[in-house]
Every structure is written in structure tokens, then in C-alpha cells.
């Protein structure tokens, strides 16, 4: 179709709300930039704890994304392809963290993985391992909140993918695992990547479940959103600077990754 290449012909009923949407999403960011104390920026950026919080945020969000990929992609396949009973109930259940207030998610994690929790008390007694107030707790809290984004995204890609390729692979003698690895996964790779990015971004900004389940300790559990929230109570300028750092890092990461995929998709 040549029409899609013309590009500029956006119908006015779409153009106006789309422009309003852009303004609504982008203007608050402009507001942050306007209020940024540029003169004290250097001092704020080198304040103790900023680098530490940023590193912890990136590491924990990446680990949470990795964990989400390991568990979430198979889960998405089960939701999209398997014929088990109660699939729609299962789908509703695994997307609950999307609507649950994250603070409540944090308490729920305590009830399972806390020192007094169902699994946590056993871990404590059997291995002397306690999870709350550790970096592990940060990763788990972020995974709990962010994994549904990946699952929903990958399941959508699987449903949209043409199942006939898989059927052909089967007729050529591939077992289901081989088909998943060699046919299905490459087919839905863009969907997996998009889901992973969404998951990473959500994990990076996670606040409620983290501060509840993992607590707040510099270097161990204090991620950027927690540092921003606490800075906001004492020194709003510092909070703005911290937010900008987080914003810059996430934008840079997302743009970089996007270029890589586009390059791969074209090449």
C-alpha cells in the first residue's frame, strides 16, 4: 500500500486528540526540566548515594527482567497455546499485580516470603535465609509488579503469530519443544523484546512494593524511586535532579535498544 508511506495524511479527528495526548504526557517532563536547578546540578549529582541508588536500580531492574523472561515467556505460552482448563481464570490471576496497589503487593509478599510468611518461615528455619530488607527482596518485589507486563505482551504476540508455521514444523517431525525454540520464539521475538522493555521500565520505576517488602537502606535496597521520594520530603530540588537522572538513563537505554532491534529487523 502506497498510502501508508505518505505519512503526513493524518485525519484531523485523530490528529487533535493525539496532539493533546502528547502534550499531556510530555509537558510534565518539560516542567521538570524548567524547574531543574542547573547551577547546583553538579553538586547534586555527586551527592553521596546518588550513584549507588542508580546502580542498584539498574542492576535490580535488569535482574527482575531476566527473572520475568525465564518465568514469564513459558507462562505466556501456556496462556496462549495450551488447552488446560481454567485458562481465563489463570490469565486473570497472573495479571492481578497490574491492578493491585503495589504497597498491598508488598504486604502480600511478606505473607509468603517474609520471616513469618508461609514459604519464608520455612526458608528461615531450614536454611537461615531471610529475604526482606535484602537486594533479593528488591528484585522479587520488582518482578512481582513488572512480570505481568511481559506476560501480557508476549501472550499477545503469540496469539497474533501465525500458528501454521508451528503446524508445518510439526509435520516435518519437530517435537513441541524444538518447535517452540526454533520456530515460535524467533517468530514472537519482537513481542518478547517489547515486553521485556516494558517490564524493565516498570521495574525501574517500582516504588510501593519495594519500600514495603524490601525496606529502604542505602546501597542495599534504596533504589532511585525511593531516594526520589525521600528527597522530595526534604529538598524538592534534589528530588528533581534525581528524577532527571533516572529519566535520562531510561530514555538512553530504551532508544539504544530500539535502534538495535530495528537494525536487526531490517538486516
Amino acid at each position: 500500500m502506497s498510502r501508508s508511506r505518505e505519512g503526513a495524511g493524518i485525519p484531523p479527528p485523530l490528529l487533535v486528540p493525539a496532539a493533546l495526548g502528547v502534550a499531556f504526557l510530555v509537558l510534565p517532563l518539560v516542567g521538570l526540566l524548567v524547574r531543574t536547578p542547573w547551577s547546583s546540578l553538579g553538586r547534586q549529582l555527586t551527592a553521596p548515594g546518588v550513584g549507588e541508588a542508580l546502580r542498584l536500580s539498574i542492576v535490580s531492574a535488569s535482574l527482575a527482567t531476566l527473572l520475568s523472561l525465564l518465568l514469564g515467556v513459558p507462562l505466556a505460552w501456556v496462556l496462549a497455546r495450551s488447552r488446560i482448563r481454567g485458562r481465563s481464570v489463570l490469565r486473570a490471576l497472573v495479571t492481578v499485580p497490574l491492578v493491585l496497589p503495589p504497597v498491598v503487593g508488598g504486604v502480600a509478599l511478606f505473607l509468603v516470603l517474609g520471616r513469618q510468611g508461609i514459604v519464608g518461615s520455612w526458608l528461615d528455619e531450614a536454611f537461615g535465609v531471610t529475604i526482606p530488607f535484602t537486594t533479593t527482596a528488591v528484585v522479587l518485589a520488582e518482578t512481582f509488579v513488572a512480570m505481568p507486563f511481559l506476560v501480557v505482551s508476549v501472550e499477545g504476540a503469540l496469539r497474533a503469530a501465525d500458528a501454521r508455521f508451528e503446524d508445518v514444523a510439526a509435520t516435518l517431525g519437530a517435537d513441541r519443544w524444538t518447535t517452540f525454540r526454533r520456530v515460535t520464539l524467533p517468530l514472537v521475538a519482537p513481542g518478547v523484546a517489547a515486553g521485556a522493555v516494558l517490564c524493565w521500565a516498570r521495574a525501574l520505576g517500582e516504588f510501593g512494593a519495594t519500600i514495603t517488602f524490601a525496606g529502604n537502606f542505602p546501597g542495599t535496597t534504596q533504589t532511585m524511586p525511593l531516594a526520589v521520594y525521600l528527597a522530595l520530603q526534604r529538598d524538592p530540588e534534589a528530588a528533581i535532579v534525581l528524577s532527571l537522572v533516572l529519566l535520562a538513563v531510561s530514555l538512553a537505554t530504551l532508544l539504544l535498544l530500539r535502534d538495535r532491534w530495528l537494525g536487526r529487523a531490517q538486516g
Binding site: G114, I211, N216, F217, P218, A231, Q233
Partner: protein, 271 residues
Amino acid sequence: MTARLALLAAAVLVGAAACGGPDGADQPVRSGAPAGDAAPTGTLTIFAAASLSDVFARLGAELEEQNPELDVRFNFAGSSALAAQLEQGAPTDVFASADEDQMTRVVDAGLAPEAELFASNRLVLAFPPDDPAGIDRSDSAGIPSLADLLDRDVTLAVCAPEVPCGAAAAEVLDRTGLSDVPDTYEDDVRAVLTKVQLGEVDAGLVYRTDVSSAGDAVGARAFREAEAARNRYPVAVLDDAPNPDAARAFVDLLLSDEGRQVLTEAGFFEP
């Protein structure tokens, strides 16, 4: 134990759902109002420290009963967060802070004239009912030092230094040389109390009044260093108060004998 945790989770859920609701807004309107001259009417908006929730809700209901035309609304949160909201221009009649620093911040910003002190509070060491770390040993006679109560490896939650209860906690920990003991710096005192109630920490530094309101859900020990680090609560009517008459009426009630009695019952000290 599991039942207790489930109950607590339910309480948190309900609490989260109730957040932001206009507390005490649906107070029944009585007929036959006391015919005071120029009884305050309209809406009274009060920003108050989270630790004042119970006491202020009672006094607010009392004021509404005296003035049926009046609707009292509260915003309870950490004092620092409230001060930040006031700096951003939140329309408010009364501000009550859990320490003088946050009130000074508001006064210095030109938002309020001088404030009046109306109460003070002290930190105590709270612990779960089963006391896993053995904080509550009967052998320590008199009021022990915090160092005596925390003389072993314990998981300790305190408030972050950004909020008033954290400033007091930092002072106490400094004084006793225990600054490296905390495992988590929580964003407000109720978060510390929740972690103690859940049994996820062995102990937490909270206000005496929080322990009173938690009932049997936590135990607590007083300690010597708390007195020197006690925090005082100032209250002020803001310069741009939309309803200054009602604001004054609330502050008068707070400073009256009746207000003092409600504060004392809740465990607050004189300023």
C-alpha cells in the same frame, strides 16, 4: 499467627482503599445547634502529622458536633511531605507538624505566622508480641538504655532521617553509638509499626502514642535516651487560610483543657 497476618493484610487493604477519603465528612448533622455568634461554617482543611490521626479525628468530630454547618477534612501524612505540599500551594487552614523543623520550614516560607506548641512525644522500642529477639527482658530494673535493649544482633526498623520520627531516631542512635544497627529506614512511623506488627523486624523505634493505638499488636519498652530526643508538636493557622474562623476554633479546641485531655489519653506529653 497466620490469622493475625491475614487480618493485618486486610487492615492494610482497607486502609489503602480509605486513603484520600474525606475523613469525618459524613458526620450526622444535628438539629438544634448551639446558637453561638458567628459559628464557623463551610469546610475546614487540616494538614496534620500521621501520628496525630486518632486524636485529631476525635477533635474534628467534636468540632463538627458543636458546629453542624462545619465540615472538617483532614490530610494525614508525614510532616515533611505535608510541608512540601504546603510549599507547593495546597489550600489549607491549619498545619500541625510532628516537629519544629517542618513548621519552621513553613513559617520561613512565609506561609504562616508563629506557631504554638501543643504536645510532645517520645520514641519507644516496639517489638512483636512474641518478641523473637528477647527485647523485653524482665531483669532490667528501672528504665534501661537503648544500648542495653539492643545488645545483640537484631533486625531494626527506624524512620528515615528526612521525617521527624527519623530525626529523633537518628539523635537517639547517635547518642548510644548504635547508628549502624538499623536495617531499614522507613518513610513514616506507621510503616515502621506495620513491619513490627508483621513480625518482619525484631524491633522498631516508634512513637509512644503509636504503641497505644496499636493495642496488643505490639509490645514496647521505654528507654532513657528518648527524653532528650523528644519531639514537640507545633500548630499554626496558615496566612492564606480559606476558613480562618473555623481554623481558629479548631486550634482553640486543641489548646483547651478538653484538647489536652484527649492528647493525654492518647499518650502525648505536655509540650
